[in-house]
């Protein structure tokens, strides 16, 4: 919780398109702000709003 980082690159090209479109852009900050009761999906803040995303999808995003 509260972990944050800067989006670096994506592993999955197809998925990255959806993420880019949603404002999850390289060079921008992303912060973990919550998880669903079973630990998955998670809720992150990107680009000034809240995005729900499955762990599997979040794992394709490289953050530094």
């Amino acid at each position: 919780m509260g972990e944050k980082g800067i989006v670096k690159r994506f592993d999955d090209e197809e998925l990255s398109l959806k993420l880019l479109e949603m404002g999850c852009l390289p060079g921008y900050e992303i912060e973990l702000i919550g998880t669903a009761p079973l630990g998955d999906p998670i809720c992150v803040s990107v680009y000034g709003y809240k995005l729900a995303i499955r762990l599997k999808e979040a794992n394709t995003v490289w953050v530094v």
Partner: protein
């Protein structure tokens, strides 16, 4: 007829577009269909200034012109067809000012299409609360577009928006972005000249989406496909380049016009505090299931009163018509076929209205997104998606609107599984059948003081239906192969106080859709069934009437009893009766006789027709739908040969299970056909569900016998 200006509303999901639509059009809304696609088209008339009208088209929310779900495809499809009758003369792009950058991505794409645009800047108050200050004058200059600040909740600014709609329609906007983006490619020029397009971006969109565009012929699609291969056009990397490029330009343009002093961090906002409770690892589920319980309670308890009125009204109307018109087959057709069929539709409206009132409230408030969020992992285990929750809940009222609610599930496989299993959820048409059959099987006894044994039995049937639904989903998950990736990437909007008006419009919309979709089929089937139940081969029916009359005289029956006996004999001699006898051998293993066979057949219009058919067969009189009479009559029924009770617990249980699982709803099949655009799925669904019902009933009957 003068052509009215067509104005489309386009924007991201949760941007307040629907509220704005409701403010602009009020009750002058109608729902149509886009040609070739199943998504509803919401349109309404809006008076811009007396006497100038505009037709407002509310398009599904989308984040970009790169659609993922069925809903979103409509937007792109429409905007690429200049000759389509719904092609807008102007677009109002609705954007959420508190999330301006992301909302503008779609705007910059729309700007390429050379349709006059107006930017409606919504939620300025929320933006201000978050510390975002927007200089509208400067923004207008940067984006080269008329901008109107609105408040879609209160309706403030709609008058200025209407005035702007009057003015922009003549002006065209210049292409501003495409040239600045690294998007030039050979394939663009080829498509441009072949399809005589004068717009590069349009051609580019063809190259990206040709496979799913409804207006291209197979030839044209293969032509584009060849060019895409020939010129090495990489759709994925081009889209990535475009999105990143657009965001860069947007950020540049907003640099001076928007001052962002986000004073409160997202995780400290009020919404996040509510989230801590509503998505809590334990409390989250408790709250959700408590809400579900309240909703079901409301659907069943509150709806029963208006349902009785409708029932009473329909039978009053029928007896009134019978009393004023001379008896003739035509009057019978009107009363027993048409009006009864109509009654069969109207009776479901209260439950559908109440259920969708709740669903719309949850959606409006932002809570539904959290339900999807907390249910996703559980649903995923069964090949479903967090978004499948809404169709599954809706299925408890009626599968027809529930199946239509699957459209926003992006992944095709998950959508198919959802719409396949939704009819297994016990819909309201099954309740009357269950009520009668449970009474035959389970005594009405209180347990633990507050619960009733029969009520518990009904509850467990719902649970069983749900288990069958998710079990079948699991099976399908293993069978269906899909290359498409399943994902769950969804905005969690801030919580808002729901607007009652929007809830009202949603109820109206869903009820209308149900009456139109399911209604016409139920009426048609009712009429067909009436014919099958009233006429028989050669003069079999006349003979049956004579026989009944003779028997009535010899056993000294009164007029009403005689008529009921005649009706019973008529039904037996009719085509429906013959058909019932015809299928008897195949349903015998389940314990059913030909009389139940008739009821199974008539249940195709709607399951609750079972009750009316049973009343006719046992000559209680079809108008007498008092459940107690039917239950008593069924209890007394004996096998003429062995003199044993017909409705043994084994048979009652077997029949319950059959009605729980069997696909006995033509409207559902028709909607599945419409949504999947092929008969494959309805047929598989019919075979699967009826097969499941048959096998389960067989097991239950033979285990209990």
């Amino acid at each position: 007829m003068a052509t009215t200006t067509k104005i489309a509303l386009i924007g991201n999901p949760n941007c307040g577009k629907s509220s704005l639509f409701n403010h602009l059009t009020g009750l002058n809304q109608k729902i149509g269909n886009f040609p070739g696609v199943t998504v509803d088209k919401k349109m309404g008339q809006c008076i811009l200034v007396e006497p100038v009208n505009a037709e407002i088209i509310d398009l599904p929310g989308t984040y970009s012109l790169y659609p993922k779900s069925q809903d979103e495809k409509v937007v792109l499809d429409l905007l690429l067809q200049k000759n389509e009758s719904n092609y807008p003369d102007a677009i109002v792009v609705v954007v959420d000012a508190s999330n301006l950058n992301r909302n503008l991505l779609l705007f910059t794409q729309l700007k390429e299409l050379e349709i006059p645009l107006i930017l409606a800047l919504n939620m300025l108050d929320i933006a201000e609360n978050h510390g975002i200050k927007i200089n509208i004058e400067l923004l207008k200059k940067e984006l080269c577009v008329p901008i109107i600040g609105i408040n879609a909740r209160s309706g403030a600014g709609t008058d200025r928006l209407k005035a702007a709609m009057l003015n922009t329609t003549s002006k065209s906007t210049s292409v501003a972005y495409f040239e600045k983006l690294p998007l030039q490619h050979d394939v663009v020029n080829k498509i441009k000249s072949e399809f005589k397009l004068n717009n590069d971006y349009q051609a580019l969109l063809y190259a990206h989406h040709f496979a799913s565009l409804s207006f291209l012929t197979a030839d044209e699609k293969s032509k584009i496909e060849n060019w895409v291969v020939e010129t090495n056009f990489n759709s994925l990397s081009f889209q990535a380049k475009e999105t990143v490029g657009r965001y860069e330009i947007i950020n540049q343009q907003l640099k001076n016009a928007v001052v962002n002093n986000q004073n409160i961090k997202i995780k400290d906002r009020f919404s996040s505090k509510i989230d801590k409770i509503l998505t809590h690892s334990f409390g989250g589920y408790v709250i959700f299931f408590a809400l579900l319980f309240i909703i079901f309670q409301a659907v069943f308890a509150w709806a029963s009163v208006p349902m009785e009125w409708i029932d009473l009204g329909v039978s009053k109307l029928n007896s009134f018509i019978v009393s004023i018109l001379p008896a003739s087959p035509l009057v019978d057709l009107l009363t027993q076929g048409l009006i009864s069929g109509l009654g069969g539709i109207l009776i479901f409206i209260p439950q559908i209205a109440i259920l969708f009132a709740f669903i719309s409230l949850l959606e409006e408030s932002g809570y539904m997104a959290r339900v999807m969020f907390i249910m996703d992992k559980l649903m995923r285990k069964f090949g479903l998606n967090g978004k499948s929750v809404v169709p599954l809940i809706s299925g408890v009222a009626c599968a027809v609107p529930a199946i239509m609610a699957t459209r926003n599930i992006d992944n095709l496989k998950e959508r198919l599984i959802t719409l396949f299993v939704t009819p297994l959820m016990s819909c309201s048409a099954r309740i009357p059948v269950f009520t009668v059959l449970i009474a035959l099987l389970v005594p009405s006894k209180p347990i633990l003081g507050i619960f009733n044994l029969q009520g518990m039995a009904l509850m467990s049937l719902y649970f069983l239906g749900f288990l069958a639904a998710i079990g079948s989903a699991k099976v399908l998950q293993l069978i269906l192969k899909s290359k498409e990736k399943s994902y769950f990437i969804m905005e969690l909007p801030d919580y808002k106080i729901p607007r009652w008006k929007n809830v009202g419009y949603t109820i109206l919309e869903k009820v209308k859709a149900f009456v139109l979709e399911a209604g016409k089929i139920i009426i048609a089937i009712s009429v067909i069934l009436w014919v099958l139940a009233s006429y028989g081969p050669s003069n079999a029916v006349e003979k049956a009437i004579e026989k009944a009359k003779t028997q009535a005289i010899s056993t000294h029956l009164n007029t009403a009893e005689t008529e009921n006996l005649i009706a019973a004999y008529k039904l037996e001699a009719s085509y429906a009766g013959h058909f019932g006898k015809f299928i008897e051998p195949s349903i015998k293993p389940l314990g059913f006789d030909w009389k139940i066979g008739i009821a199974l057949i008539t249940s195709f219009a709607a399951r609750e027709v079972f009750i009316g058919t049973m009343s006719t067969i046992y000559s209680i009189g079809a108008d007498n739908e008092d459940e107690k009479t039917i239950i008593q009559r069924m209890r007394a029924e004996k096998n003429p040969e062995t003199n044993a009770i017909t409705y043994t617990p084994a048979l009652a249980a077997s029949l319950i299970i059959f009605y729980l699982f069997a696909m006995q709803c033509m409207s559902t099949l028709a909607v599945v056909y419409r949504e999947t655009k092929s008969w494959k799925w309805p047929v598989i669904q019919f075979v699967y569900m009826t097969g499941l019902a048959y096998v389960s009933s067989f097991l239950v009957y033979n285990l209990l016998k």
